[in-house]
Amino acid sequence: MTVWEPADNGHADLSSHDSFVDGPPHNTFARLRREDPLHWTEYPGGQDFWSVTRHADILEMNRNWEVFSSARGIRMEDQTEEEYLARRTFQETDPPEHSRMRMKLARAFAKPVMARYEDDIRELCHDILDRALEKGTFDATKEIARQLPMRMLGRVVGLPEEDLPWLVEKGDALIANTDPDFTEHVLDRMDTDEYRMLPFNSPAGAELYEYAQELMARKEREGDTSGVLHLIREPADDGSVISETEFRNFFCLVVAAGNDTTRYSIAAGIQAMCHQPELLEQMKEGGDIWKTAPDEIIRWATPALYFRRTATRDFEMHGKTIRAGDKVLFWFASANRDEAVFDDPFRVNLSRSPNRHLSFGQGGPHVCLGMWLARLEVRVLFEELARRLKSIEPAGPHRFLRSNFVGGIKELPVTVVPA
């Protein structure tokens, strides 16, 4: 049984969010990998772009940050210089500027530091799973996948538990800004110009800005130095400190990007369990499978469907010329199904090794800062879930987010039988 059949006719418009409502158009990606791996893609909403779909090409280009710069934005949507400066985080910078901020944060998100959260995560999983599973039939994205990253956000960042639902709602409005289920200000369907200086062109950005400011003021008054926010405000070796704008943008990034990606990895893993019943058996056997399963689940999910770069000079590839100033999209979603790298890419194989998926943007300076936390959350969640289950099956069709940027199952009805 295949886990999921792509629905597109092989010629989907990659620039349209609507092409992703039934999941990523993988027939189109497969055709492009085969026939046109550097594909000129028309974009009615702005400047046309190059779509890169092969794993090997993305890996090669991603490390080449001098040619493929992040400093003109990382999404398909075009920004003016003014908007870019107002909204950017270190995601939208190149080395060495990027490296300075990255160093600062790398300590907070290092693997051994994240490993200390394992007990916290397990405790949260007990609570989340006990509540969800007793319902019998429920939406696994809402009741399980959404819960864990949200509550971990509170612990890692140092936020009050009672603020978390509000924060996650705002984070969703930011990052899922093309799905009417998550925001009233759908990016490509109305004039969001009023909010163009805010993260993701969203009014939720303004509310998060305000929240961050009040939070830090309160923390300062109370001498509370918990969590990573404190760390990034510390002066660097050269005495420089992060600006207010940079700080607020970083806060939005953590709330939005650090949250829904792990959610959609968990959701995709549960969806795979529903369609490949052997996965639950393998998880129950445990052992070495837990060394490889998290990465396979995260490959399967690919929550960040693409990141965009901008060419700083002309570059030849596959007999074509990418011109300086051209927009280039690295389709991680396609790379993670590349048959040249992955055997049977449309099946979940929990013991896949090596597993050189690109879900974390591997191969370049911007590789996901939170990847160790993500892997840890995914491992512990599925360890605890498998332990509690006798069976899990779909209780209706699942629905994907309307977005060509964030790949996620927003609704996942399941029926479980507890072990």
Binding site: R63, S99, M103, A106, P112, G364, P365, V367
Partner: protein, 104 residues
């Protein structure tokens, strides 16, 4: 040139490495477990951490400033001869190099 990786389980991988390649790239090409190289050699991840065998410390040199900072965030504890293998390039004078993959 030849490079040997000593693994935590006591086994070894020896491989022929092309000059100019980094030792991270060489490890990936030879499926050396424990050397991951998530950031492609951009010093953003510290997942290509190795410990240089005593006999080869002088020949491989000391870490640079950025590398030094990233060595503080490795998964396995840092040791005096720790390096990021993306910052060591295969060259004739390193023929026979021995690298130890540290245990987490």
């Amino acid at each position: 040139m030849k490079v040997t990786w000593k693994l935590p389980d006591g086994s070894e991988i020896t491989a022929e490495v092309t000059h100019g390649q980094t030792l991270m790239e060489a490890a990936l090409a030879n499926n050396v477990p424990g050397v991951i190289g998530e950031c492609g050699g951009c010093m953003s991840c510290a997942t290509c951490h190795v410990v240089v065998d005593e006999a080869w410390r002088a020949a491989t040199g000391a870490p640079g400033e950025m590398e030094d900072a990233m060595l503080d965030v490795t998964a396995a504890p840092r040791q005096p001869a720790s390096r990021l293998s993306c910052q060591i390039t295969a060259a004739p004078e390193l023929d026979g190099l021995v690298l130890i993959v540290p245990e987490e």
